[in-house]
């Protein structure tokens, strides 16, 4: 690692003021950033440690909206009674990620901004458009069996590695951000950018923007929600495909549904096409399958990742069927 400075401000405004230059990074749990610094992928000249900021809360307002501070540790989030009862999909997603030790360190804000685990991005001896714009994307020809089938570009086929963000995307979470213009809110779906021609830009955040909290809308039917993750070993590995789903059924008709996919796209993939196909339709596996296939019609698999299409389809069908059955 190279030389850099370190600050631990006590006020968000101070943090934001320190972090406006592109060479500055916020340090929260450090589970991703410290690793990337050791690998030479991230080379900040200043770390702004945000752990002294007052963002370790989970609270509910009078309207039932739940606000999660950006500094809440993943372990604490997954264990929180409010989250477990009202948003089981979120608790399950968080617990499906990493290991106990890492969940104890990682924060909500940091988890949302973790970088892709594409092996080319992580190896500074190789080209990567995300890390070094214009250098090329060796993953297209190389090892891409766990890279994107949706939303990718010629420039980048990396996937977003977060489990938590998939659940939050399904739940229509809203992110609170503070930047030089002051505090404001961004729907999570608008936080992430597709790679297009500039894959180095992963979010719509302004330089120095600090995530301070995440809001979860009331969404009563999220009590019936779940996260299903497929991976190459039984635990402690990134997804090869995942589905976050919440289902609201009235009689034998889908009244409402939330559906998001992980490990298939550069962003947590909200399956709006599938949702539209499902709402008002029957509650059966044929309908679930047709909806998943409609969403995945846009998929552009490469040589080694076409399996993700049936994988996600199957996960959607199974997860929705289980939610419908109340199991």
């Amino acid at each position: 690692m190279r030389q850099f400075g370190y600050e631990r401000p006590e006020y968000a405004a101070d943090a934001v003021a320190l972090a406006e230059r592109p060479e500055v990074r916020y340090l929260a749990g450090g589970t991703n950033l410290v690793d990337l610094m050791k690998l030479g992928v991230e080379t900040p000249d200043l770390l702004v440690d945000v752990s002294a900021l007052p963002y370790e809360f989970v609270q509910e307002d009078l309207d039932g909206l739940v606000r999660i501070g950006a500094g809440v540790r993943n372990s604490d989030l997954a264990a929180h009674a409010l989250i477990r009862s009202r948003y089981p999909v979120l608790a399950q997603a968080v617990l499906a990620g990493a290991s106990g030790q890492l969940r104890n360190m990682a924060t909500v804000g940091g988890n949302l901004l973790q970088r892709t685990r594409c092996v080319y991005f992580q190896d500074v001896s190789k080209p990567c458009n995300k890390r070094m714009p214009g250098s090329g994307c060796p993953a297209r020809k190389g090892d891409h069996h766990n890279l994107a089938i949706l939303g990718a570009s010629d420039q980048c086929i990396a996937t977003n590695p977060s489990d938590m963000a998939v659940a939050l995307t399904a739940l229509d979470a809203v992110v609170h951000v503070q930047d030089h213009a002051g505090p404001h809110e961004v729907p999570l779906a608008e936080l992430y950018r597709l790679p297009g021609s500039d894959p180095q830009r992963e979010t719509t955040l302004a330089p120095g923007a600090l995530i301070t909290a995440v809001d979860l809308p009331t969404l009563p039917f999220a009590r019936r929600s779940r996260y299903r993750k497929a991976r190459e070993r039984a635990s402690y590995s990134f997804a090869i495909g995942s589905v976050a789903a919440a289902l609201d059924v009235e009689g034998d008709v889908v009244r409402d549904v939330r559906l998001a996919f992980g490990a298939v796209a550069p962003v947590p993939w909200r399956a709006r096409t599938a949702e539209a196909a499902l709402v008002g339709g029957p509650v059966n596996e044929e309908a679930f399958r047709a909806a998943a296939e409609a969403e995945l019609a846009a998929a552009e698999p490469l040589r080694d990742n076409a399996y993700k299409v049936p994988l996600i389809t199957n996960l959607v069908v199974r997860t929705l069927a289980e939610l419908a059955a109340g199991s």
Partner: protein, 698 residues
């Protein structure tokens, strides 16, 4: 054999308390006064030339003491048997990606690393050839395969027998590169005192490291001492001297200070060896009654441009089944890749995947139970050589395992058992591994206080060798284990076999038994122990040379149950059962754990582990523990390990066969056979990843 009391008991590991408290010191943790740190710079091309290394900027950084490159590094000597991979920083050639091209030495580890990261190395790259294939134009037949077996063997007329066989299985299997990944990264700290060199090193055999360093630095016999009291796993990756130890010694000579070099996890993927990928073509022919008439095993593997490593993949087919027409062949191609080396059961692990999968396919084709197929083809002598077996209890293992596993009620039809989203299947495979011994020396000393000290350059890489050897020595000396101290891991104790090839305990126990018996004989003659103690030395070279020519092998049977998720292709392993016939088991506690550990690594081989070579760059791109998956706790469920009581007095004085490797032999085939039984799809390429399973189910 002597009457025993300690052998067979589950004595607690002698150094366990030191390990659970963090007090045990591994090579990279030995503090030497005034030591500094070396950080390795690896090549970023697979083939070509280093044209310039600009060290000035790095040398100007705080704490940096030196930058060793091919321009200034101490010159090394080579002998005929020198491992060319150890000739680091001797010329400007790059022979594989990840080769050491410089060593940055600094006061602190972080300063050394920062310097290594910033060192500017310029290359003239050349086209590289890193793609292993069974039709590679440069494939050749090596003079022999590891360690010294014939490359090809042939008995009878395989082609004619296959042409007239009632049933033929003709299939090609492949296994990927696998990386040993012991938990302790390779480390060494070296210190010079004039022309004497002391190295604390992480290895599987201190005398072999001593020998290599003595030659490389042109030193006198006895000038090098290598110590390795605690070693954090090896699985073959520490079986030979590795470049980190040479670099530490070079750095120490250059700076005249003790230098520590510890590899990072990522560096290990190129610098310490790995299991070669293999492609294996199997042809089996049988009569209608499932009697083998022909067996042909052709194995392809890769080696490097640095030295030839010819894995003995097809060796297993020379001894397992009674085929009157039997042919085995090995072909190798030298690529611009890191040199493959030993990894747990080299040869037998990948070889058994092909042979035992093919036997399963043959059982299906013949319509007989896979165990019955093996019973019908059990040989009376080693089929290839005609040598008698010293002992062979494969069938007993299969029957015992079938009983424990509940095989009898198995429905042979594939793809018919379902529990919700899970398909369920079971499979079986045979295991074997050679039971060899190699010359070793040992010394046994009786002290005046009635205690004993035994010294041998054994290495305990986690096997439990220190504990097992204590039990053996205690029984030989007819003393309680508390009165016997076994000292290991110091090359000054003299030449001994490495902890490898499942030969450690067999070889060391022989030398220890001989020294202890000699000591008792002396004590009997002199009556009382003199104040200074009395020592007996032993060397087993002549004893081993005098051994009768026999086929000596351990055998075993492995059973697996799998559940395959039809939605995702994920394979889970609720049950494994292994029954082994491996001679005498010295310590039930450490022995069982060794076998379970081998089978668990077999789960990794079957389902998870794969070094992915990228032809664009010439390296294994998934070079860390996040992207190279080894089994975690959750991947393992019920593993039932047992052994049959086997007495074989034609092995060595203690009657041991070695158990370090056999646990992984056959596991992958048993699992692949179970996946077939679950799904009806035969996976001939490892690992059986979810994407491959799902694609096969589509």
């Amino acid at each position: 054999m002597t009457a025993t009391t300690a052998i067979g008991a589950g004595l607690n590991r002698i150094e366990a308390a030191a390990k659970v408290t963090g007090a045990a010191r591994y090579a990279g943790e030995i503090p030497l006064d005034g030591h500094a740190y070396g950080s390795v710079v690896q090549s970023t091309i697979a083939r070509g030339q280093v044209t310039m290394i600009d060290a000035d900027a790095v040398l100007a950084r705080p704490g940096v003491l030196a930058v060793l490159t091919h321009d200034n590094a101490p010159r090394l000597h080579r002998a005929d048997d020198t491992d060319a991979e150890l000739l680091v920083l001797q010329d400007d050639r790059v022979r594989y990606r990840g080769q050491a091209v410089a060593l940055v030495i600094a006061e602190t580890l972080e300063q050394a690393r920062a310097g290594a990261e910033l060192l500017d190395v310029t290359y003239q790259p050349e086209d590289h050839d890193v793609v292993f294939a069974a039709d590679h134009p440069r494939l050749y037949a090596p003079e022999h395969v590891n360690p010294n077996y014939p490359t090809d063997t042939s008995v009878g007329d395989v082609d004619a027998a296959l042409a007239s066989a009632a049933i033929v299985v003709d299939a090609t299997y492949s296994t990927p590169a696998e990386h040993n990944n012991p938990m302790e990264p390779h480390a060494a700290i070296a210190q010079w005192d004039g022309d004497r060199l002391t190295v604390y090193d992480s290895n599987q055999g201190a005398t072999s490291v001593r020998q290599a360093l003595t030659t490389l630095f042109g030193l006198a016999d006895g000038a090098v001492r290598v110590l390795s009291e605690h070693v954090g796993g090896g699985f073959g990756a520490k079986g030979s001297t590795r470049p980190h130890a040479v670099l530490a010694a070079m750095g120490a000579r250059f700076t005249e200070r003790p230098i520590r070099v510890t590899l990072t996890r990522q560096q290990m993927f190129a610098m310490v060896g790995y299991r070669t990928p293999t492609i294996q073509h199997m042809r089996l022919g049988a009569d209608a009654d499932a009697t083998l008439v022909a067996l042909e095993h052709t194995a392809y593997s890769q080696t490097s441009q640095v030295l030839e490593f010819a894995e003995q993949t097809a060796l297993i087919s020379r001894l397992m089944y009674a085929a009157p027409n039997l042919r085995t062949r090995h072909r190798v191609v030298a690529l611009d890749v890191p040199t493959p080396r030993w990894m747990r059961a080299p040869g037998e692990a990948p070889g058994s995947f092909a042979l035992e999968s093919a036997m399963d396919e043959l059982a299906t084709a013949c319509g007989v139970d896979p165990i019955e197929l093996r019973v019908r083809n059990e040989p009376s002598v080693e089929p290839d050589s005609g040598l008698p077996f010293s002992s062979r209890n494969l069938i007993a293992c299969l029957h015992e395992g079938a009983e424990r596993f509940g095989w009898a009620s198995r429905d042979p039809r594939p793809g018919v058992r379902r529990d919700g989203r899970w398909l369920i299947g079971t499979g079986v495979a045979s295991s074997t591994y050679p039971a060899r011994s190699a010359p070793s020396t040992a010394a046994a000393t009786a002290l005046a206080d009635g205690s004993f000290v035994v010294e041998i350059t054994a290495s305990d890489i986690g096997t439990g060798a220190r504990t097992a050897l204590t039990q053996i020595a205690a029984d030989e000396l007819r003393a309680p284990t508390e009165r016997v101290e076994v000292r290991i891991g110091d090359s000054d104790f003299g030449q001994a076999m490495i902890a490898g090839g499942s030969m450690g305990t067999a070889s060391w126990s022989w030398a220890i038994a001989k020294a202890c018996r000699e000591l008792l004989h002396t004590l009997h003659e002199i009556g009382t122990v003199p104040p200074e103690g009395v020592t007996a030395h032993a060397d087993t070279a002549e004893d081993i040379k005098a051994q009768a020519q026999l086929s000596r092998h351990a055998f075993g049977a492995q059973f697996a149950e799998v559940r395959v998720d039809v939605d995702t292709g994920e394979v889970r392993v609720p049950r494994l059962c292994g029954v082994f016939a491996a001679g005498r088991i010295i310590n039930a506690k450490t022995g069982r754990s060794q076998l379970i550990g081998g089978m668990t690594m077999g789960i990794g081989m079957a389902l998870l582990e794969e070094g992915v070579m990228d032809p664009q760059f010439g390296d294994y791109v998934n070079h860390d523990l996040a992207s190279y998956h080894v089994p975690v706790n959750g991947d393992v469920h019920d593993i039932d390990v047992s052994w049959i009581d086997e007495h074989d007095d034609r092995l060595n004085p203690v009657g041991v066969k070695g158990i370090g490797e056999i646990g992984i032999v056959g596991t992958a085939a048993a699992l692949a056979n179970a996946v077939w039984h679950a799904t009806g799809h035969r996976h001939r390429h490892l690992p059986i990843r979810p994407d491959r399973v799902l694609t096969s189910l589509a």
